[in-house]
Symmetry: C2
């Protein structure tokens, strides 16, 4: 894994891929799936996400204020769905599903070795947590796998239907 400049983080999340979110709490790491996220600021990168209080990760995220957002490519889709189909209340997901937790640099939650990008995050605003379960994160450090140039990500349409990235098109935009 190689450092990604923080100014480029938005290019990973803005397209709306399904991601994994890891936490670490009371000596246990856990991982969940997440599609309800968005960019809020370019640099330092701010990311909003909704982690329902029905998720086991909610308490860990609220208490520790740290997480990692890991971006899986298409070949991980079966494991991504498996992560979403069980709860850290009941199982050690990393071991059960076959994902490799790897130490992060700035936060306690682990990176996911199989993901082509990992974003180490701290919670910077909790004002909307009680009302909407909405957390605002700052990305402290970003990693990408330099051997993978254009990994295809997956986009959830509900009930296990995913659109896979297809062709890339390029138009003359003035927007970053």
């Amino acid at each position: 894994m190689k450092d990604l400049p923080l100014s480029k983080v938005y290019q990973l999340l803005e397209p709306g891929p399904v991601v994994l979110l890891t936490t670490a709490h009371k000596g246990r790491a856990n991982v969940m799936t997440l599609s309800w996220h968005m960019m809020m600021e370019f640099e330092p990168p701010l990311v909003a996400c909704v982690v329902s209080n029905a998720n086991y990760s909610f308490a860990a995220l609220r208490a520790t204020k740290e997480c990692v957002i890991a971006v899986p490519a298409l070949e991980l889709a079966p494991k991504v769905v498996a992560v979403g189909n069980c709860s850290g209340r009941d199982v050690e997901k990393f071991q059960r599903i076959g994902l490799t937790p790897t130490p992060a640099d700035r936060v306690a939650p682990p990176l996911v070795a199989e993901c082509f990008a990992n974003l180490e995050c701290k919670v910077v605003d909790t004002r909307l947590v009680n009302r909407y379960s909405l957390f605002i994160l700052e990305v402290l450090k970003a990693w990408t796998d330099p051997t993978r140039k254009f990994p295809k990500t997956i986009h959830h349409h509900g009930y296990g239907s995913f659109a896979v990235d297809g062709e890339m098109i390029k138009l003359k935009s003035r927007m970053p």
Copy 2:
């Protein structure tokens, strides 16, 4: 255009497509491009979005508390980029770019006739507008074009690079 049950709105936005956002203020309709949006609740559907105060639409959205989110498919990509490359300060975008504003049912901002889905929204929470330009919207009414089953959407990777929806895959997920 046909009514879409509000419970299905998340299936449109969760995958992260580039969308258009229309406003109406002081007798003028305007339209901007938007990728920084996410679902926050299934039903009634809540959507968060960041509309920078550098955007001409910001003042209209804050003042009128109404907008329409319209979802364009691939064939509109050149017009979507054209919308992002100019400002409502300077031009009448609908006319200049060739998009057709159509009256909405519950809000003043227009639908975009060329888009395969249109969501009529009101702003329901402005607590994070000053700090982050983050608006929370409730979708009041949703429309889809019943003749278009699986339109391909576009996902922005920065500077006019877009991933187009490719194949759909289906996995056994317990998640909605």
